[in-house]
Subunit: 213 residues, 2 copies
Amino acid sequence: MAKSVKKRSRAAVIPYHHGDLRRALIDAALALAAEGGPSAVSVREAARRAGVSPGAPFRHFDSREALMTAVAEEAQQRFRAEIDAALAGTAAEGPLRQLKLLGMAYLRWAMRNPAHFEIISTGRWFDHDAAVAVSRDNADAIALSEQLLAQAAASGQLRPVDLKATQIAGRALVYGLARMNIDRHFPRWGVQPEQVERIAEQALDVFISGIAK
Amino acid sequence: MAKSVKKRSRAAVIPYHHGDLRRALIDAALALAAEGGPSAVSVREAARRAGVSPGAPFRHFDSREALMTAVAEEAQQRFRAEIDAALAGTAAEGPLRQLKLLGMAYLRWAMRNPAHFEIISTGRWFDHDAAVAVSRDNADAIALSEQLLAQAAASGQLRPVDLKATQIAGRALVYGLARMNIDRHFPRWGVQPEQVERIAEQALDVFISGIAK
DNA sequence: TCGTGAATGTAAGCATCGATTACATAATTG
DNA sequence: CAATTATGTAATCGATGCTTACATTCACGA
């Protein structure tokens, strides 16, 4: 019983079975994406990093896209956790302040995890229909922003604006900033990396003060 | 003299030399991108469409990236032409109106040529340093928006805003809308294709009226 | 006019990648 | 302990980017 365990734990004996190859492949893919962008993720390289043959991953993922789908779900979970944490217990601060906190948490994560954000936000890298959690979390975030905007309007904190158009504009602003970061618009435009988050915050302030009464 | 010409024009005689393979490859690549996105562009398929061997393109482009760079320059030229046309002779309409016209022309082209817009806007698909025209046109557009914003401020049409932050917010808004279209956020969110441009215009209006006095 | 060098194409082949198939080994379970 | 299932390897396929060696055509000057 303990014998077989001892045998494998002995020095550099590589067990035929990996243990948790699925998890290792997702982690390797996340690392590859972080290093060279989503396109740098290859099944073979992930297998290489997990110390396994090129065909092994296909026992756990039917295709490269299936691996990316799992990666997207993992990334989306981390993304959502950060946003939830930022908004926890802030209800008393008012909807406009919460809207800004939501935007800042969103941007903060997107700026610091550009490749992972790109994977979940584009849908080009994974099967959107298969990754139900991604869609759900996204819908939740959108619904939350709608709610906060409606609250702000109901409590008379907004100038007379079209709520729907305003919500889309806000989403587009935040998404645009995240995308500009991914697409290297900021360095090309002379913005230092450490300034990016601050500049994004200022842009968000411009928008919010533009709709606030 | 005319003999050789006649010989080749006769029926289905394929000349050894293409005539303008470079041009044909760029056109094929543009078509491939439009059909399946930038990642659908392959050197071999472009060669296939031009009726030429897989190695031939490398006489004109050192790499796939070099082909994409030429594609980007072509696309950027079309993009800029559309914007210039939209702004021609509109100086009398005032800076804020021109700002909106600029944004709408930008969005219009981006929405109708998503793949080509993605190529020029991301820099992941081509060598940004080699495509000087792309950088220059982009810088011009940015400079123009700065100018218009400064004019609006100087003539007292703006609320008291941070001009730099406002300009970045405006860019991010427009870029975000274009990107949401590319990344299929709109259909996923139940927005009909024919409504996209109208919704984008409304979002732009929200922003501009938010900064206007 | 011609012939020679440059330009431009073909053919064949390399490495990498995603993916499949047949087979081998370990883990689990009755 | 035996048999079934899960999970790995090995070998292979077709597509791709890219290179090299060779073939053909074009353009220009003697």
